[in-house]
Amino acid sequence: MSDGKGRVTLRGIRKDYGSFQALKGIDLDIEAQEFFALLGPSGSGKSTTLRVIAGLETPDAGTMTVDGQDVTHAEPGERNVAMVFQNYALYPHMTVEQNIGFPLRMDGVPRSQIPPLVLEAARRVRIDHLLHRRPGQLSGGQQQRCALARAIVRRPRLFLLDEPLSNLDAQLRLETRVELKRLHRSLDVTTVYVTHDQEEAMTIADRMAVFLDGEIVQVGTPDDVFNRPDNLAVAAFIGSPPMNLLPGRFEDGAVILAGERIALTHRSERAAGDVVAGIRPSHIRVAETGVPARVVLSENLGETMLVNAEIEGRPVKVRLPEVRRIGDGETVRLVFEPNHIHLFDPQSKRRID
């Protein structure tokens, strides 16, 4: 299907809107045929980065290449990229068939060759029975498929998706997520996917870049980002709820938290000093012994339970694998699983290994 290309390189991309620095020097390498997610909260620069890749924004500094060719200042139409917008941007006055066929028409494909290509693209996303409807007569999910079909019909070198699932209801979002992944496998086109939903990024992407305040704070596989956050910013962002970050002290292969000494199984060569210890809510247990914590509120999530507690006035979240009765204001003892404790340097905010 594809010619096996679509390697994107961004170097030092900056973009300012007045005094607001949307992108503060982005460096990024996206491999050919990769499913790559740009993850971050709103205003973090992920969508701007996607628009720079699309050519809809011109960066103030930096270069972008695709397969080694400099396209920093190329027009959107010259880049052979296709994009699915958050609001789909379907042409309301055209039928589904005309919408999907539009890029082919603009590309100068002979009129007789368009219908079979349109039909094939529509079949791939299963809307071939809706070709004569207009976008206004489609459901949200069907509109989204139509936008997908319009994007894939031209067999672009790059496939850009800007929060494509955010306008769908929860159930449909889960289904479409799977389908997008399948579509990517069958097309083998480099796909860049913008989302603020980390679960979406974790489940769908081969690799991802985490954006915060116009900068990339980590690039890696979902596994890397989740299990080995590079710095405090990523640690505080990834996970739902994200990991607990507590001030502590490192000494002789152990970390001291709230007066409790926890021997670490996996780190030893380091001088004594202050650290920030990170631990996910699911890696804390309630036990007979351990660090005392006062329960503020316990939330029953159905299958699990989320306990909001305080250790020496600092909030700590604990996810228990089973629902049990814990009264608010009660004091419990918490045990941190030593092999799941992450350490960060409080000055440089970087991970300590």
Partner: protein, 286 residues
């Protein structure tokens, strides 16, 4: 049961009030037209009878005189069509790209340029008659088609541009960006994506501009003359120092209204749609 009846009665009362209000408004607006119809069917002497008589012998002679009599308004119909038509076509052709630029392009000085576009709308028209007269006189365009059309354009363009800007701003930017990514040029995006979506706006523009040009009197009477004499001016032949031929004037006015009424009915749906543009969010996916 009793509650249902009370409901019914309340709804009936409300309907009576609404219909009464609508009837009153209709009366206020339609009365002059109705009066013109009545007058146009009377003889000139009957018109002057006082008090006006409710029952009289209706006649169509006035219409015959207005159409084919000595002061026939038919030749001026052609003039009106030429002037109004040219004004309308030129307005749309110029206003659409102009509105697109205002709505979409990042232009230096766009804000004040947009503001001063409206400058002719800020002065009472009568204040512009003399300057226009002097200008047209200087270039030798008094009593010419091009002179009248240019003068009308100075009024219709600002209006049309701002109307079209509001229509175009209603179209989500992504729609156009999608077209650019689909390899459309700016012109192709305008032609294939934007224009079909502002059809309603164009229809409204056409109607208002044509209507204004058709009904214009002040400039036509001052800057036109013998060559360019639209219906509004030609009708005045029935008014002279010695007498006013009210019945023939009414007949002529009603004939002149006819094209407007036809266009109005034909475009009613577009106008109503046009006036509510932007009323609903997500207009892009209408």
């Amino acid at each position: 049961m009793a509650a249902a009846n009370r409901h019914k009665a309340a709804r009936l009362r409300r309907n009576i009030v609404l219909y009464a209000a609508a009837g009153l408004l209709f009366f206020v607006w339609a009365f002059p037209v109705f009066w013109a119809v009545v007058v146009s069917l009377k003889s000139e002497t009957e018109v002057l009878a006082y008090p006006p008589r409710l029952f009289f012998e209706p006649t169509l002679l006035n219409y015959r005189d207005a159409l084919v009599g000595g002061f026939s308004i038919l030749p001026s119909f052609t003039t009106s069509f030429i002037v109004s038509g040219l004004t309308t076509v030129l307005t749309v052709v110029l206003a659409v790209p102009c509105a697109y630029a205002f709505a979409r392009l990042r232009l230096r000085g766009k804000k004040w340029l947009g503001f001063y576009t409206l400058v002719t709308q800020m002065v009472p028209p009568v204040g512009l008659v003399i300057p226009y007269f002097l200008i047209l006189n200087r270039v030798g365009w008094l009593d010419t088609y091009q002179g009248m059309v240019i003068v009308y354009l100075t009024f219709s363009l600002p209006f049309a541009i701002w109307l079209m800007v509001s229509y175009m701003e209603d179209i989500p930017r992504e729609m156009e960006e999608a077209a650019f990514l689909d390899k459309a040029s700016r012109f192709q995006a305008l032609w294939h994506v934007i224009l079909p979506q502002v059809r309603g706006g164009i229809a409204v523009t056409v109607i208002f501009v044509f209507l204004n040009a058709w009904n214009e009197f002040l400039f036509a009477v001052q800057l036109g003359g013998n060559t360019v004499r639209p219906v509004t001016v030609a009708m005045y032949n029935f008014v002279s120092v010695e007498q006013t031929l009210w019945a023939k004037l009414s007949a002529a006015a009603l004939i002149a209204m006819l094209p407007m009424i036809i266009i109005g009915f034909a475009a009613q749906r577009q106008i109503v749609k046009g006036l509510t543009v932007g009323a609903v969010k997500g207009g892009g996916r209408r």
